[in-house]
């Protein structure tokens, strides 16, 4: 086929610095042409792993050792006691048969088995050992006698800060009788990512506070881009007491900015705008805290704007997803404790693994199948004579009713069958002219499920559901996207060529939505897309504001992917869809050379933005034969 092909997608997606890349292939060489993507807000998409992600997040977690599980190298020599060497033995200790044994005669300073590990007394270490042949007593660690609390055979783990460079494993008083094996000592947080004040420690893969107030746990150089927005996530667990801790950025020299105060355990997602020179991430136990608590899974990601979304819903190759503005009218999309519950409906768990990969799904129980067990949320919107779509992710067994209503006399819903995996269900309907109060309800009227899992509820004034818009206490709007400006005049042949795409519409509405080759105006353009007529794919070549050819074809379902190719050549215009020639026009001129200078997901000048899914685009610089067009679109 022709050389000088521009390609987008086909499973090979390129994104650089947030810009979508168009691949220009010339004689085996690949050059990149950038689209400019704009979207004023964040948005979500389905990632390659099937999880719902935020489009604008950098992949990199800016927090090092945020799961507090990093360990250093093994410090113990001969921890398996293969030979009687490397250990200093006090009274009662012997090494034989692959273990070190204490016969109960050792005591106090004369009851140690010792190895010089050159401990740093300012650091935390993790000790693991196995006890066998246990008869009585316990062992202690270090000269400060930290108790291992041994009561039987088994593996014991202890986190400690040493008081000297030596590891002392000590028996005393009651006299330990038994053997030890597989002794391991590793430094915790070996790269010193965390700077811990008094009362903070790292234990069991978590950052732990013993409740000491006004002391910080710090990681430096996290919020390095002043003015940038960051997403912070963390899990907080209270061991005992009343929690009062604070997440901040900054330091004592440049001041602190509070990101959030936290007073109860849970998984938190926070956002912050970085302040100049306040680069550090800090956790501070506040003065009214009485809790012993842990922090884990700390993540900080920079939020970049205007990034394209490659969505992997229902396909492994991915597609560029471009959507219009939409508002989620459900004010609590993940917190179902805020929804109204009737009958036996109960929120029985809130830590279910959700479609986002976080433990923020909710389990609803107490349904009977007899109706009257409702979970609903009233939006405050009057739906009279308007169309709405409600969507929600559900998981479970049996059936359940999803309904949208005006709470007066009209319900639009259906019985849905729950699945063992999360699945998004959507109900769409147009209300009559009766005024009311728009609500969304999940209930057991006509259903069989006694419980179900739920996450990600959404209500939009659209005839279809768009990508998930998370909310927490208010309605939230995702901005519309644009994707424009790829290429330059030398990349296109205005006098002949082929424009090909594999595209699907978001719905079968009466909205025209197109992409085009143009010179930045709609006076000279070749556009292709979805027309205002049901299930119609349209292509039109305009030269000097005069339509030279206008080809339309009605497909079975334009919300499914269709492969479309348009050939343009002087007095020779054709449209192929899914392997068949569907339109021919043997008259019509073409633009003069070097007219087309860009590929836009709009009409060229900013109108009729393409909203839909695009798996692939190709732009050929010469006309293709019928057989080539057939092959291309098959």
């Amino acid at each position: 086929m022709a050389e000088g092909i521009l390609k987008l997608g086909e499973g090979q997606w390129g994104i650089k610095d947030g810009n979508l890349l168009l691949d220009k292939e010339v004689a085996g060489n690949h050059l990149k042409r950038e689209f400019t993507v704009t979207r004023g807000t964040r948005a979500t998409y389905v990632g390659r792993d099937g999880l719902i992600k935020e489009s604008n997040l950098q992949d990199v977690n800016l927090v090092n050792n945020g799961d507090f599980s990093e360990l250093g190298i093994e410090l113990i020599t001969n921890g398996s006691f293969d030979t009687d060497s490397d250990w200093t033995k006090d009274t009662g200790w012997s090494i034989a048969n692959g273990v070190a044994s204490q016969d109960g005669t050792g005591s106090g300073n004369d009851g140690d088995i010792i190895q010089d590990l050159n401990f740093d007394t300012n650091k935390i270490y993790k000790l693991v050992l196995t006890v066998t042949n246990y008869t009585q007593g316990t062992l202690y660690i270090d000269t400060t006698n930290i108790n291992l609390n041994i009561t039987s055979n088994g593996t014991y783990t202890l986190y400690f800060t040493p008081s000297s460079s030596f590891l002392y494993i000590r028996t005393r008083y009651s006299g330990f009788i038994g053997s030890i094996d597989n002794v391991s000592v590793k430094e915790v947080d070996p790269n010193d990512y965390w700077n811990l004040g008094t009362g903070w420690s790292i234990e069991d893969g978590k950052l732990k506070s013993d409740g000491t107030i006004n002391v910080l746990a710090i990681q430096e150089n996290v919020f390095s881009q002043s003015g940038s927005t960051y997403k912070i996530t963390l899990d907080v667990n209270v061991v005992s007491g009343s929690l009062s801790t604070r997440v901040t950025m900054g330091d004592s020299v440049h001041g602190y900015t509070t990101i959030s105060n936290i007073t109860s355990e849970g998984s938190y997602t926070l956002y912050a705008t970085a302040v100049a020179n306040q680069d550090n991430l800090n956790f501070t136990t506040l003065s009214d805290n009485t809790a012993v608590y842990t922090i884990d899974n700390v993540s900080v990601q920079e939020v970049k704007t205007d990034t394209p979304r490659i969505d992997f819903t229902d396909n492994t190759d991915g597609h560029l997803l471009l959507e219009p503005q939409s508002t989620n009218l459900v004010t609590y999309s993940e917190d179902f404790s805020e929804w109204t519950k009737t009958g036996g409906t109960t929120v029985s768990a809130t830590n279910i693994l959700s479609p986002s990969g976080e433990n923020n799904g909710t389990n609803i129980s107490g349904l009977s199948g007899s109706g009257g067990n409702d979970l609903y949320l009233i939006t405050g919107q009057d739906p009279a004579s308007k169309t709405y779509s409600a969507s929600v992710y559900l998981k479970g067994n049996g059936t359940l009713r999803l309904q949208i209503s005006n709470n007066v006399n009209q319900g639009i819903g259906e019985i849905i069958t729950l699945t063992s995996d999360w699945k998004r269900h959507t109900v769409t309907g147009t209300f009559n002219s009766t005024s009311g109060n728009l609500s969304v309800t999940l209930d057991d009227n006509g259903g069989t499920a006694t419980e179900y899992k739920v996450w990600g509820a959404q209500m939009e004034q659209l005839s279809y559901a768009t990508s998930y818009i998370p909310t927490n206490g208010s309605t939230v709007t995702r901005d519309a996207e644009t994707c424009t400006g790829a290429g330059e005049a030398q990349d296109f042949n205005s006098e002949e060529g082929v424009l090909y795409a594999e595209i699907a519409a978001l719905d079968d509405s009466t909205t025209t939505t197109i992409f085009s080759l143009s010179n930045g105006t709609n006076a000279n353009s070749l556009y292709m897309g979805f027309s205002s007529t049901s299930n119609t794919i349209q292509a039109q070549l305009v030269v000097g504001n005069v339509a030279q050819t206008n080809m339309n074809y009605v497909v079975t379902d334009r919300t499914q992917f269709n492969k479309v190719a348009v050939l343009y050549q002087n007095n020779n215009h054709k449209m192929y869809i899914n392997g068949s020639e569907v339109a021919v026009d043997t008259s019509g001129s073409v633009p003069s050379a070097n007219t087309f200078d860009r590929l836009n997901f709009d009409f060229g000048q900013g109108s009729f933005d393409f909203y839909g899914k695009c798996k692939a685009i190709r732009v050929y610089k010469k006309a293709l034969s019928d057989s080539e067009l057939k092959t291309l679109t098959s």
Binding site: R478, D479, S532
Partner: protein, 118 residues
């Protein structure tokens, strides 16, 4: 740069005329579309006090709605002039601007009104 503004109008028609003044065109099918790229959300007469409902969702007491027509706008591509002031379409809306301490009843996904207040 982008900024967020919250506005209230005495009625819907005033709001719509201000929105239309930002720029609109009509396509060959007779559909009107904006020629600007600002993100405009018409909230309408927002709920001031929620209503009261029984277990069946029937309204016992109607919600109290604001008498004003509310609009949130994400203004895009504003520029800073030589005097350090913001230049852009938002200027013509200043008379309708409200300034609230909270994020309000509506937000733009991932953006903070407090941080981006126009």
């Amino acid at each position: 740069m982008n900024k967020i503004g919250k506005y209230e109008f005495t009625n819907e028609s005033t709001a719509k005329s201000k929105i239309a003044a930002l720029g609109a065109a009509t396509d060959d099918d007779g559909n009107t579309y904006p020629t600007h790229k600002h993100c405009i959300v018409e909230l309408g007469n927002i709920v001031i006090t929620p209503g009261d409902y029984d277990e069946e969702g029937n309204e016992l007491e109607a919600p109290v709605l604001s008498e004003m027509y509310h609009v949130d706008v994400l203004w895009k591509d504003l520029t800073i002039n030589e005097d350090g002031d913001l230049d852009g379409d938002h200027d013509a809306w200043d008379a309708y601007k409200v300034d609230i301490d909270s994020e309000g009843v509506h937000g733009f996904l991932g953006l903070s009104y407090a941080d981006m207040k126009v």
